[in-house]
Point group: C2
Chain length 255, copies 2
C-alpha cells in the first residue's frame, strides 16, 4: 500500500506561494515535529513574559537553520514582523489550529500498569487537548482502584463505553504481547487513533492514525549517539564486497 498519491501536477515545477499547506495528507513528519516543538517553546517563552520570538532564537535553541524555521512558519501560515519576530500569541493560535489542539479530544487508556498509571496521573497532556475519559484493564486486582482521578474499569465495559461516548482515540499501555490484537479490536469498535506505547509496530487500516511511541527505539538512538561521540563505535562498513567474518552465532539455515 502506498500512501502517496501520484497526483503530481507536472507543470507546477515553479514553486507557488501557497505553500504545500493544502495538502490533504497533512504535513510531512519532520515539519510536524518541528511545529510541535515551536509550539512548546512558544508556550514556555510566553509564560516567561515574552511577546515575540525570532526565527534565529528558535533555530539556535533547536539546533537548525533559521531559514528553516521561517519556512516552517510560512507553511503553518504564521506571519512574522521584521525586526520583531513572530508574535507568540499568533504562533500559539495558529499552531493550535494546525496541530488540531483547539477542541478537546476524549480518549480511553487501555492498560493501567506502571506506565499506564503514570499517563493517567499526568496532567501535561491536557494542553494538547487530550482528556482521558476512562481507564481500562484486565487485571481484576486493579479494577475499581482510582488512578489519577479515574476509576479503573474492566475491559468488558470498554466496548459499550466506546460506543456510547463515541470514543475515537485510544492510548495503548498494555503489554506488547497481544497489543496488535487489542489494536485490531479497538479499530473494529470504531477507534480512529491509537497512541501505542507497547514496543511493537502496530498495523492499522488506512483511515486510522497510529503513533508508535517506541521508547526502546529512542534509547537505541541515544546509545548510538553516545557511542559515536565517545568514538568507540566502529560503524562504517565501507568495504562493499568484503565477505568478512560471518557471525558464528549459529542459528543459520541448514546448508
Amino acid at each position: 500500500m502506498k500512501t502517496r498519491e501520484p497526483s503530481g501536477p507536472p507543470g507546477a515545477a515553479a514553486r507557488n506561494r501557497r505553500a504545500a499547506a493544502d495538502d490533504a495528507s497533512g504535513f510531512p513528519r519532520p515539519l510536524l515535529e518541528r511545529l510541535a516543538l515551536y509550539y512548546q517553546i512558544a508556550t514556555s517563552e510566553g509564560e516567561e513574559g515574552q511577546d515575540a520570538i525570532s526565527s534565529a532564537f528558535l533555530a539556535e535553541l533547536i539546533g537548525i537553520d533559521a531559514t528553516l524555521v521561517r519556512k516552517d512558519m510560512a507553511a503553518a501560515g504564521i506571519t512574522g514582523r521584521p525586526k520583531v519576530g513572530y508574535a507568540i500569541a499568533e504562533v500559539l493560535a495558529r499552531l493550535d489550529s494546525v496541530l488540531g489542539l483547539t477542541d478537546r479530544n476524549d480518549a480511553i487508556l487501555i492498560g493501567c500498569g506502571d506506565l499506564g498509571s503514570a499517563i493517567a496521573r499526568y496532567a501535561g497532556f491536557g494542553r494538547y487537548g487530550l482528556k482521558i475519559a476512562a481507564v481500562f484493564d484486565v487485571d481484576p486486582t486493579k479494577i475499581g482502584r482510582s488512578v489519577g482521578g479515574h476509576v479503573v474499569l474492566p475491559m468488558e465495559k470498554c466496548k459499550s463505553f466506546i460506543e456510547i461516548f463515541r470514543i475515537q482515540i485510544a492510548i495503548l499501555a498494555a503489554p506488547a504481547n497481544g497489543a496488535q490484537e487489542t489494536a485490531d479490536w479497538l479499530v473494529r469498535k470504531g477507534v480512529k487513533a491509537i497512541w501505542n506505547f507497547a514496543p511493537v509496530h502496530l498495523r492499522v487500516p488506512d483511515d486510522v492514525a497510529v503513533r508508535n511511541e517506541n521508547l526502546a527505539l529512542g534509547l537505541a538512538q541515544l546509545i548510538h549517539m553516545f557511542k559515536v561521540k565517545r568514538g568507540n563505535l566502529q560503524v562504517p562498513v565501507p568495504a562493499p564486497d568484503a565477505a568478512q567474518t560471518e557471525p558464528e552465532l549459529g542459528a543459520k539455515r541448514t546448508g
Copy 2:
C-alpha cells in the same frame, strides 16, 4: 532577547551550534530509526523461530519500500541471501554492534515520580544494554523506598555516585521546571548522555548526547494525523494579504 545562555563554558556558545542535532558522523536519524525498528522486529521474529526475514516482509510491516530496507541493511553492513532474506542472527549481531548495544551501559535515573517509577520497574530496556545503577530523587518522602529493586537515593549522593562509578548516562524524569539546570549539572559532573523525558528541549555541549523523549510532541502529531484523516482540520492559509482575525491577545503593534 537572545540572552538564553546555556550556562556552560563561556566560549562554547559558538561551538555547539549543532549541539541539539543528532547526527555526529553516525547514521542519519531516519536511517537509525529504521535500524532500531529492524532490530526489534528481528528480535521478535527470532523468538518465534524464524531464521531469516526478507526485505519485503520488513517493508510491508513498517510501511516503506523494500528497496529502502535493502539499502539500510547494506548501510549497516548486513548481507542477505537471495531467495532467503537476511539471517536473523546476522541482523541482530550486526545491529547490536551498529547501535552500540553490545556492552552494558550503566545509567542513573533522576526523579522517581510516576514516570520515573515506571521506568525503574521496566525490564524491557535491558535488551538494549541499559542497566539502571541507581535512582535519585529530591523528595524526602521517596528516599529510601524501593522501586523496581532500587533504593531511592537522595540527590546529595548523586555527585559521588557518578564519580565513583564513572556514570556516563542519565535518565531525566524530573519536572520540566529545572530540567535544564539539572542537565547542566549532570554534564558538569561528567555525564555524556541524557535521556530526557521532561517536556523541554535540553541544550547540551557538543560532546554530550541527548535525546529529548518529548511525549507531548508525539501526542500532537497523533492528533494532527487523526484530524487530517477525519477531514475536519483546515490547515491551509492561502490568503496572503487578508488581515483576517488577528489574535486579540494583545501583543500587536500599534500602527
